[in-house]
């Protein structure tokens, strides 16, 4: 098949699949709580509904900042999503793009003068400082262990068996970072629905909110697929089996890193979250980096 047709197909289908995963996550949450839950297409229906609504923004909205933020947010989720599923591109570039998505959220919130939005941006920024370092550590350790930077070769199956335990460190870091990066309940302090009414998104509505919600779903799927790709993908899984295996493992990861965490804990305060991310994952990351560096020095 022509490579351009593949990219266009993926560009249309993967956002839809990301919304479906969001719906599956809501269904799993509901089942854990003993409810029936919405149909798994619910997030997709929400998306269509938001597109049909009229947009009503405050008069003093900074439109340039709003559009920049939305474009950054969308690009920071859509491009990584295509990259990780096509296994094309550079890990460092992926890291920058995903940090750019967080920057997009901040810019979107700063476009409004609502105090809720400002509080949300401030908390989002503190959280970003706390967890992005662990995310960067995870990617750097992965690159140092596997010795490559591209997504097609940088994989658990490309290194000898004795080095596999070293990849446990970034894997655990990713599991810590995933809820914060996606923004689910114990650590979604910047977007807390019940306290500050979705923080940076408090004033946007209609199609702008649709883009924000779509970006969030795509970021979740991209992060899950990145974890699958780097740490959980055997070498002999190719072709159609690659897609089936990826989607199944992504679903399992969504269940364990998002749904279970979300139902096991209530939302914590910003100082608790920052303290946690600045101690546990960061310590693991620094120790991991030292171990990997020393082992490289010994020629392993």
């Amino acid at each position: 098949m022509n490579i351009y047709i593949t990219y266009i197909l993926l560009g249309v289908l993967l956002p839809l699949i990301a919304l479906l995963y969001d719906g599956i996550e809501r269904k799993m949450t509901a089942r854990i709580q003993g409810r029936v839950g919405p149909p798994i297409t619910q997030s997709w229906l929400d998306f269509i509904k938001l597109l049909t609504k009229k947009v009503k923004l405050p008069e003093d909205t900074n439109m340039l900042m709003l559009f920049t933020g939305l474009v950054l947010m969308f690009a920071g989720a859509f491009i990584p999503l295509i990259m990780v599923f096509m296994r094309k591109g550079d890990l460092i570039l992926l890291m920058y793009l995903m940090v750019g998505g967080t920057l997009g959220i901040l810019l979107t919130g700063l476009a409004f003068r609502s105090p809720y939005s400002r509080v949300g941006v401030s908390r989002e920024m503190q959280m970003a400082f706390a967890y992005e370092i662990s995310f960067i550590f995870a990617i750097v350790i992965t690159i140092m262990v596997t010795g490559c930077r591209t997504l097609e070769s940088c994989n658990v199956s490309s290194i000898p068996l004795v080095k596999w335990p070293l990849l446990l460190i970034p894997f655990i870091l990713f599991l810590f970072v995933a809820p914060a990066k996606v923004g689910v309940v114990p650590v979604d302090i910047g977007e807390a629905e019940s306290e500050i009414a979705e923080g940076p998104f408090v004033e946007i509505g209609g199609r702008y909110l649709a883009i924000a919600k779509l970006s969030k779903s795509m970021k979740m799927l991209a992060l899950m697929q990145l974890i699958t790709l780097l740490y959980l993908l055997p070498a002999d899984v190719t072709g159609i089996w690659y897609w089936i295996y990826s989607f199944v493992i992504d679903g399992v990861l969504v269940f364990f890193t998002i749904s279970v965490v979300r139902n096991a804990a209530s939302r914590i305060k910003i100082d608790q979250a920052v303290k946690f991310y600045a101690t546990v994952p960061l310590t693991i990351g620094i120790i991991g980096l030292v171990i990997v560096y020393l082992m490289r020095g010994w020629g392993m």
């Binding site: 229906l45 509904k49 009229k54």
Partner: protein
Amino acid sequence: MSLWSLLFDPDNSIWVYRINAGSCNGCEIETTPLFTPRYDAERFGIKWVGTPRHADVVLVTGPVTAVAKESVMEVLSQVPDPHVVIAIGSCAVSGGVFRGSYALEGPLDNLYPVDLYVLGCPPKPEGILTALLEAKKILKAKRKGQHQEKPLVVDPAGMVMGR
């Protein structure tokens, strides 16, 4: 639900915002169980939102007091179209036991067009859930540009009257 409505019907997603316009909290206590496992309104695509700018449906409880009037009108002016306004409970419908008081500016339909009334002091969660499901049909009509002539009334146990 048919496959079409599962995949493409925007009316299966209703985001609800609540306003307390001087209510005694009885109606709030009855709206909260909608999201417990017993009633589980989320299976119909209903979700609470924290800001009027995301809302499709606005639930107003309480007679609109003189103090609350300005805030209520400002919040209602921020809800994007198409939207449905539901008056919950006797106070929001008619003023209830406070009717005629010097402290009231309401009831709500003196100030803003109301699409659905839910009777009862307080109404049961079944009544509120029925009203939200009726709001789906009103939203569908409003998306097509139609307007219903007279508002619907839902009794406390969830029977729809006035049709």
